[in-house]
Subunit: 153 residues, 2 copies
């Protein structure tokens, strides 16, 4: 698998990618398995190898799907790397497959040993969260449009 | 003004804050003045000194307020620091006052000269965008709740 295809690891050197491979551990995932739930303390981040994983949130016990990840190298659980270190969504496998898991403590250690590694990851995270923020605001706009329309008819 | 009260600059050393002060320039703002518009290329980020600034977006030419900043040290325009370097919202003064403006090129230079400075800022940005993302998702949830309720009545 190309770890560098994951947005989080873009811009890392070959040496840094190899350091990452050393601390990753492969794990199988089974359809309907919860990898984590929204609000839990984050212990790991994940990179998809095979299968598919849905990210979702719940509103009054009703599930609200956010996205489905299907591509090798898609990463999730990355709010693990940002205070307050809790998962901002839930993740559930929707197909059998496998993931590469990285423990937060191991990543933190790498960041301490290699300042540049930490910097690149933080910059990638900031970019990613800003993109998601723009998308989510776009969705909100669509809702407002619907409200405006219903008010004018 | 305490620059360290701005979320973006938290964790910087006194020396780093002084470096920042050297590149900041004060500018007056007048009620109803646009500081920038959504989608424009970002040239500057701002820290509020006095007065009040509204951040907003537009939906079919209707303004949708996001927040009003009123505290000394509130910073805005920070999407200037993340690819694709465009403002994600519009900013308009709602009261007379003043801001401290930082040119993107000057900040980029500081980041190059002082790796740690860049790192701290990227980490603060990632944290900030994740917080805004969670808030925005929360607003979306409220909309969905309203829809669910109207479906059940």
């Amino acid at each position: 698998m190309q770890l560098s295809s994951c947005y989080l690891f873009q811009g890392l050197s070959e040496y840094q990618i190899n350091q990452l491979i050393n601390i990753g551990s492969e794990a199988p995932i089974q359809k309907d398995q919860w990898l984590y739930r929204e609000g839990e303390d984050t212990q790991q981040i994940f990179v998809l190898q095979e299968g598919a994983v849905e990210l979702l949130t719940t509103v009054d016990a009703i599930e609200l799907p956010i996205t489905i990840l299907r591509s090798t190298g898609d990463c999730f659980g990355t709010s693990a790397l940002v205070e307050p270190y809790t998962y901002s969504l839930s993740a559930r496998a929707v197909e059998d497959g496998s993931v590469l898991a990285f423990k937060r403590v191991d990543l933190e250690l790498l960041k301490k040993q290699d300042h540049e590694f930490g910097c690149i990851i933080q910059a990638n995270l900031a970019k990613h969260f800003l993109e998601r923020l723009k998308e989510t605001r776009q969705e909100l706009k669509i809702h407002f449009k619907t409200i405006f329309k219903s008010m004018h008819h």
